[in-house]
Amino acid sequence: MKYFFTVILALFLVTGFVFATGTKEGVKTLVYGTTEKVTDMDPASAYDFHTWEIFQNIYQGLLSYPPGKTNIVPGLAESYSANAKGDQFTFKLRKGVKFTDGTPFNAQAVKWTIDRVIALKGDPSWLVTDFVKSVDVVDDYTVRFNLKGPIAYFPALAATVPYFPENPNVYPKDKIVRNPSELKGGALVGLGPYKVVSFKRDEEVVLEANPDYYGEKPKIDRIVIRYFADATTMRLALEKGEIDLAYKTLNPSDIADLSKNSKFTTYKLSGPYIRYVCFETSESVFKNKILRQAFGALINRPEIMKKVFLNQNEPLYSMVPKGMIYHTDDFKNTLGDGNIALADKLLKEAGYSKEKPLTFDLWYTPSHYGDTEVDMAEVLKAQLEKSSMMKVTLKSAEWATYKQQWKAKQMAVYLLGWYPDYIDPDNYTAAFAGTSGSKGMGINFSDPKWDALFTKEQTNTDPAVRKAVFEKIQKMWTDEAPTVPIFQGNLYVFTRKDVGGVEIGPTLIFNYNALYFKK
Amino acid sequence: MPELLKVKNLTKNFPVEKNILDVLLAGRKRNFVHAVDNISFSIMEGEVLGLAGESGSGKSTTGRLILRLLEPTAGSIYYRGKNMVSIHRKEMEALRSKIQIVFQDPNSSLSPRMSVGDAIGHPLIIHNMGTREERKEKVLDLMGKIGLTPASFLYKKYPHQLSGGQSQRVVLARALITSPDFIVADEPIAMADVSVRALILELMKKLKAEFNLTYLFITHDLATAKYLCDRVAIMYLGRIVEIGTRDELFGNPHHPYTKALLAAVPVPEPKRRRTEEMPKGEIPSAIEPPSGCHFHPRCPYAMPRCSEAKPEMRSVSPDHYSACFLNE
């Protein structure tokens, strides 16, 4: 038995040190670390940023965005045209493009793909089904989309992942694919610059340059996406040189440390992601808008940014994020930051006092929004209790429970976050204060006057009219305060100094073929 | 002398546990340890009956069966003509004020967390005898009689504070407190030190006279049996092989096993050499006892028929019975 122990101990020490410090692999590879997860490896089903990012690199849209830009350029379509009414779009396809197995890329393939998306009813299928009535094959290299109505921004939709043409001989028609191994041929190859050569869920995805790509060959032959279980591990891997690039999502302390490290290049991206407080406005104590205002007045956004996020995110004073059209800073002007005097006044008005404080539970969800959520809740509690007329108890629930609870009106105040479905102020406002959207969010705010304004903004295409409406809505928001904005998120990318070509624009599309090693 | 206790065809089998697979495969057919195998005897009032044998002969089981601490598999036990096997448990519990048992190990037959007074007095509480003061008085009185002195000092002691002899006295006192007329003494001196044995034996003799007791005295030591008993029964592997009055049994042993036992008893008399040949081997397992006469594999006088048929009890002389074919 002693021998057994000795042998294994020797294994640890000898092999561990001798071999691990010995040779190194020779192949030049870019290793990209992330804490995200791949969902379904199927454009008809995946609906998250990271999986879309991979698809954007192994597939091509009919139209696409150049790296870092927001203008739409031709992709697999050489050109497109719309009819006069704007409800028919015709795409002229690039000729001579072939899928790896020799299947030609043509109009039939485009129609097959769109039909499949419609039939499978995956999560992102609404991006197709809400707009597209049917697809016609005009000839081998011409395809026509018949829309349900005129949609001016259809080219932007056509650049999204569900519209990416797939190889009809590879994807099964009637089944959503989760892993590449379920595909015919077992490999995930599209018409994009990269192909997936190996896929191991939650461990690694290996991409290699696609030799059949019609465009410019990528500068890096092989990209390994390495999945980390937590930010800390990823940070250490970056520091130890195990990965070349880290993107999404690091902890504030890691971001702060890495930004100071001269070995790395830091990219700061302003994201469309916002965080805010929701109130249940129909039944809870917060149906009184004065209390909501008081709550809003007590929040000290710069302090939260400083303490919890080390100033890596921006304070937000409107539900419409900064940098987006029609944004105004109304909350800053009316309720302010940490405005204890105002809050006390409002609370007194509502009949509260030091002896009879407003007592309520503030809900948060501890893991859905990352490790900082607990800190934010703690800081919020402290800020709220700066008014002697408030007594806050923190309560938390996991995401699945959280959602049930807001539906059941069990939470009076709770913290939420928002990634937009589409980049428009409408998606940041009507979704919370419009009667139907508000109900889904558990806010249960309903006001015909507001609903009328939302309808006006949604149907009118005149920018001046929309501007006026949105400015009015943002002003009204500070009065009714169905939600109170807190901050707007930034994203950080860290690379080793020798990596270049990180170009990520407001669309958050990350084109790997722009990456290169400086030499 | 009237008959106090009569045991008739008493049998006790203990099932041997089987594992689940065997139960599933072979059903619930079980093996048994045949601890007591169809024995009969009776005890007269005021008599001391000795039950002797090697360990594993079933003598202690017999003692427990008489108090129904174990439920007999078959047979009947009559106490003053009443069959104790068929009466209800409650009734049996009540009857235990009249029939008592003293175990081999006095230390473990006392709860470590009950004081001497409580332990001795507890049977009175159970059988609802007397008031609190009366009970205490009775306990102290009995403690005095039994030599647990100073009684009021020992009353509050706990078992671990007592010496071996004192513990055994406490056990005796507990057995006697409800004034029983029959006591099963299960090797009461086996664990005691040599010098204490005599004290307890003498005490038992004294108490017998004083309280008009009847004993079933279980022992492995024939010398003690000879000293104390009026009649003696010898057990081997669950069966009684020989029973008779003291003088008969020791003076004229009949069964080869009895003879061997007697010969094996060491005597404090130097250089007395054994002439008798000792039986071969050791007592076999009671799960599958030998066929016929259980003793035949070890018996120096074994005949072919001994392994075939079970010898019946037969009279050797008046008041002396033996189960051996040599008898015929």
Partner: protein, 304 residues
């Protein structure tokens, strides 16, 4: 000596005399039990001290555990902040002091809860035997042989964070521990000669259970109770550590440890060192108390 005169004497002690007496008693006990005695005393001292901080945190803590303005963020241990500050500039020492209240309360209550369910069940199951015993033992053994923490996790996830909920989750896990121990002891004691002797004097089953078996079982339970609190402390902290314990706003060692984990790569050692040390020390207190007690009360118990 009569009872009365002893009382008069006892009340006549001056405090220093009494201290002397206590000290003398300690020395005497040390002579009698040796090292085990000091293990017990050491454990008891830890427990007493931490209990004191739990009951009167205000007398020792320099700050409120929730105060976010005690100094700079992530300050290393130094003057004013012997244990440093955390990322929200809260004083870690104060959080440790107030946190003891949470963990002690939860662990103690959980241990009591599981014992008041497990002990009677084990006692009755072991004593009655038969099919009732078989079913109960099967259930309890199944649960026992399974990693308790996983069950606690399942329960904690079901109930959601909160002091009461976590207490319930922890207590459920330890019911089988008591059940098995008490059942085992009951089975052993049931076979003791003195129980047979009790039957022989005509005692009913309820009397045997109450007067002969229970008092002898309970002695072993004391030891297990102490060891069990140590286990419960670690389970509570583990649940908090993986985020299933308490909501924010209640100082809790396990949660502080989890918070500190994020700062590990930045080398912020004080955020993980102190909460862990506290958990360990408290658990050690109860373990040592338990071990000391077991060696003194029942030397064979731990050698299962």
């Amino acid at each position: 000596m009569t009872q009365k005169s002893r009382n008069i004497e006892a009340s006549g002690y001056s405090s220093s005399e009494r201290m002397g007496r206590i000290f003398g008693w300690l020395i005497k006990a040390n002579k009698k039990y040796g090292a085990e005695w000091w293990i017990l005393v050491f454990g008891a001292v830890i427990i007493l001290f931490i209990s004191y901080t739990a009951i009167f945190p205000g007398t020792l803590a320099p700050y409120s555990p929730l105060d976010q303005n005690t100094g700079p963020q992530l300050m290393a241990p130094g003057p004013g902040h012997p244990f440093g500050t955390d990322n929200l500039s809260r004083d870690i020492l104060s959080r440790m002091i107030y946190g003891s209240r949470t963990i002690l309360g939860v662990a103690f209550t959980a241990a009591i809860l599981s014992s008041i369910i497990g002990i009677p069940l084990g006692l009755i199951s072991g004593f009655l035997g038969g099919i009732f015993d078989r079913i109960f033992s099967l259930i309890m053994d199944s649960v026992y042989s399974f990693p308790g923490l996983i069950l606690a996790i399942a329960f904690a996830a079901m109930l959601g964070p909160g002091v009461v909920n976590i207490t319930l989750a922890v207590s459920v896990v330890y019911i089988p521990t008591y059940f098995r121990l008490v059942r085992g002891q009951t089975l052993t004691i049931k076979e003791e000669l003195y129980v047979e002797a009790a039957r022989a004097i005509g005692a009913r089953r309820s009397v045997i259970l109450g007067k002969y078996i229970f008092p002898n079982v309970i002695a072993t339970v004391v030891v297990i109770f102490s060891l069990n609190i140590a286990d419960a402390i670690m389970t509570e902290a583990a649940l908090s550590y993986i985020g299933l314990g308490l909501p924010a706003g209640i100082p809790d060692w396990g949660m502080d440890l989890a918070m500190g984990k994020k700062y590990l790569p930045s080398g912020i050692w004080w955020m993980i060192t102190f909460p862990g040390l506290m958990i360990m020390t408290l658990a050690l207190g109860f373990t040592m108390l338990g071990e000391g007690l077991s060696e003194i009360l029942n030397p064979r118990l731990l050698e299962r």
